[in-house]
């Protein structure tokens, strides 16, 4: 069993993540990369600065990985989320999940990214080509899921 999560401040080494989940018991590996996209909401993006409540982000990410492992029978999983200033095309998150069969691997991968977006305390400040920058989803804009399971 190999389940690892990390919040990092360096480029994500995708090959290393794939190697971590490379056990030959698994016939399927799904790799998801979240990347900095060149346009958001009609504006030309120059980069994104990611920040976090580091200690809690580590804990939530680890909890998600453990929930994923038990819910989908995943024995090999590696997740890294990057912080700091990222340029266009840089990967902000990588999720490598392996399973003997593809269906569970796809489902587990989707589970992880949706849970990360819902509950890991990470924020992004988007920089634009015109020199301005803004917090994404900031200042009380309601979230689609305001409530991790502990709230009612």
């Amino acid at each position: 069993m190999s389940v690892r999560t990390a919040i990092v401040r360096r480029a994500i080494d995708v090959d290393a993540l794939l190697a971590e989940v490379g056990d030959t018991a698994n016939g399927a590996i799904v790799l998801f990369l979240g990347r900095v996209r060149e346009m958001n909401d009609g504006r030309a993006v120059s980069g994104i600065e990611y920040s976090a409540y580091g200690e809690m982000a580590e804990r939530e990410l680890a909890a998600i990985a453990n929930e994923c492992a038990s819910a989908f029978g995943i024995a090999h999983l590696a997740i890294e989320h990057r912080l700091g200033m990222l340029a266009l095309g840089d990967a902000s998150i990588a999720i490598a999940v392996a399973h003997p069969h593809r269906a569970a691997a796809y489902e587990a991968s989707r589970f992880v990214i949706e849970e990360v977006k819902r509950r890991v305390p990470i924020w992004k400040r988007e920089g634009y080509v015109d020199g301005t920058s803004e917090w994404v989803n900031a200042n009380g804009v309601p979230q689609p899921h305001a409530a991790p399971e502990h709230r009612t």
Binding site: Y53, S92, R119, H150
Partner: protein, 80 residues
């Protein structure tokens, strides 16, 4: 008693600080801490019931807090 409130991202920017020590009476809840912060300069940006974590775990508004607790006010998350 004294608790530490942590602010992040847009909330830290609005209040001009990422850490506020708050002295409050003995029987206090998450809701009271939020109300205190909302009364500070710039605090109007906080919603009445924001996401809050007490000692690294998401908490309800009526959860009691005790001296020394770390109370994080969590802006809408945007990871991934």
């Amino acid at each position: 008693m004294t608790v530490t409130a942590l602010l992040f991202a847009s909330y830290a920017e609005a209040l001009g600080s990422d850490r506020v020590e708050i002295a409050l009476p003995g029987s206090t809840t998450v809701r009271d801490v939020v109300a205190h912060l909302r009364a500070l300069p710039g605090g109007a940006v906080l919603p009445a019931s924001p996401l809050v974590a007490v000692n690294l775990t998401y908490a309800r508004p009526d959860q009691r807090v005790v001296s020394g607790d770390e109370i994080a006010i969590i802006p809408p998350v945007a990871g991934g």
